[in-house]
């Protein structure tokens, strides 16, 4: 994998989403560069999750997403990795980490046999996130932090141009959160990808984000954490907070 060069740019252009007559999102424009962590914040119902679904093409929307290598200015097809907020899992369920991971990357049906080559490949990749010993565990038996590391591993194989994380630190303790940001930092600096993270944890956004975007149906304010948190637009929505 290449190191971040800062020259790959994902442009989210004029995204709009309507459900019937309700306008959920209007004219959203966001540019993110590789090696950059962009945190999207906003109150409940501001359209954060909808924006992610639009970017992933899961729901109908206007506008488009382009991915450009600024070295030669050639548009490429973007690969997006996604880390969901929640999974449909239950304690002791018969889906192991291997079953889930292999389902994402292999054509060999996981109910039929365990593919040794794929198994090693997965283990190798999980190792990057310190999760290789979880490979045979049930998805339902992982702790919050473990599940998150596994999901990030899944989202980054194959290496995406853009990694999207939806509220990834909810339900994880303080140490887990620290570990999480360590991983994000590693991805940011060692791999050639842009990262968008949706969060309501303002403290963490302030600490780790390169860029913060305040969303309320459209982009209300963007800039460095300081710029956004000190802005009038931010204070109107969240009040004055001590960070």
């Amino acid at each position: 994998m290449e190191k971040a060069c800062g020259l790959h740019c994902t442009k989210i252009n004029h995204i709009g989403v309507k459900f019937g007559k309700d306008v959920i999102l209007k004219d959203i424009n966001i540019h993110v560069h590789c090696g950059e962590l962009t945190v999207i914040i906003g109150r409940n119902g501001a359209g954060k999750s909808t924006l992610l679904k639009a970017i992933l093409g899961e729901i109908e929307h206007t506008g488009n997403i382009t991915f450009v290598d600024q070295k030669d200015n050639i548009a490429e097809k973007i690969k997006i990795g996604y880390v969901p907020q929640k999974l449909n899992i239950e304690k002791h369920m018969p889906t192991t980490v291997y079953d889930m991971f292999a389902s994402c990357i292999s054509k060999v049906p996981v109910f039929l046999k365990k593919d040794k080559k794929i198994y090693e490949e997965i283990k190798e990749h999980l190792k990057i996130f310190g999760a290789d010993m979880l490979i045979d565990k049930s998805m339902g038996d992982l702790s919050g932090g473990e599940l998150q590391r596994v999901l990030i591993a899944i989202a980054t194989k194959p290496t995406p141009n853009l990694l999207i994380l939806d509220e990834p630190v909810s339900g994880i303790d303080k140490n887990g959160t620290k570990d999480f940001y360590k991983i994000i930092n590693k991805l940011k600096t060692e791999y050639d990808m842009s990262i968008i993270l949706v969060s309501h944890d303002l403290e963490l956004a302030n600490k780790y984000a390169d860029k913060v975007i305040l969303l309320d149906r459209t982009v209300i304010k963007e800039g460095t954490p300081k710029e956004v948190f000190n802005s009038l637009e931010f204070k109107n929505r969240f009040g004055t907070i001590e960070i």
């Binding site: 449909n88 002791h92 018969p94 889906t95 996981v110």
Partner: protein
């Protein structure tokens, strides 16, 4: 067919195997039980038990509509209706933001009431009331051929699509990010359930068909440690309850479907007892 009959007689040299209808029933069970078991694994994972139940109920409306439209072959009418019903149900389920179980219940109730009303109106209810409990001892060759083809289709689909279904069942947005066509695969899945249910409904009955989908997979889920184990146990449970149910029903003279379901139920409670702690 002769060859299969001979093989069965050699393997099972019992009195009941002297009858053609028992041989046919046994073949039918061996044909459909594993298919129901593997479909069931995903139905249970996706918490769709109620969904497949509603599908079974729609058979009654399918028969009635087939009759009104004068489709001579009841099976064709039923299968066509079930496919439309399944797709519609899936569409509405994905559209509504509030409880899917409520909407499914609405569909299910309407389907069964409409079917009853239409059959009663045309004076045909008694003729088709057999569909409620099913009759596996009275199978035709054509039906068996249908079941054979449907089983092959499901196996092929499962081989090529199971991994995708598995990701979708975890999180559909994640599946989408992996380039999976979520809607298409989900729709094919429910259509296959619909076809399989309709083909075997005259054998098992509207009231019991859903247990064939749910119980073996649910039992297996109690004890299975991974996907391979999950599928294997579901298939074994399904075949075991099917075959033993048929034999017991022959000696006790009780409808086969109900014995099969009772045995599946007992297996479920046994596995519940051994559930991973």
């Amino acid at each position: 067919m002769e060859v299969i009959y001979n093989v069965l007689e050699t393997i099972l040299p019992f009195e009941f195997m002297n009858y053609i209808f028992m041989k046919n029933a046994l073949i039918a069970i061996i044909l459909i039980s594993p298919v129901f078991a593997i479909l069931g694994t995903m139905i249970v994972n996706n918490k769709m038990a109620f969904f497949s139940d509603a599908l079974g109920h729609s058979a009654l409306t399918g028969i009635a509509i087939g009759m009104v439209l004068g489709i001579s072959n009841i099976n064709v009418g039923m299968i066509l209706f079930a496919i439309v019903f399944a797709l519609l149900l899936n569409y509405v389920k994905n559209k509504t933001s509030y409880g899917a179980d409520t909407i499914i219940s609405v569909f299910s109730s309407i389907a069964i009431a409409l079917g009853l009303a239409m059959l009663a109106q045309s004076g045909n209810f008694n003729k088709y009331s057999g569909y409620l409990v099913g009759d596996i001892l009275n199978i035709t060759g054509t039906e068996m051929l249908y079941a054979f083809i449907a089983a092959i289709v499901v196996y092929v689909f499962w081989y090529f699509t199971f991994n995708k279904l598995n990701v979708i069942s975890m999180n559909s947005t994640l599946a989408k990010s992996k380039g999976i066509n979520v809607k298409k695969i989900d729709n094919i899945f429910v259509v296959l359930i619909a076809i399989m249910v309709m083909i075997s409904i005259r054998w098992i009955g509207i009231l019991l068909i859903n247990s064939l989908l749910i119980l073996p997979a649910a039992s297996s889920r109690n004890i299975a440690k991974n996907m391979r184990h999950y599928h294997l146990c579901a298939v074994i449970f399904s075949l075991f309850s099917g075959i033993s149910g048929l034999i017991i029903s022959y000696y006790l003279n009780i409808p086969t479907g109900s014995i099969i379901v009772l045995i599946s139920g007992i297996i479920y409670f046994i596995t519940l007892f051994f559930k991973k702690k």
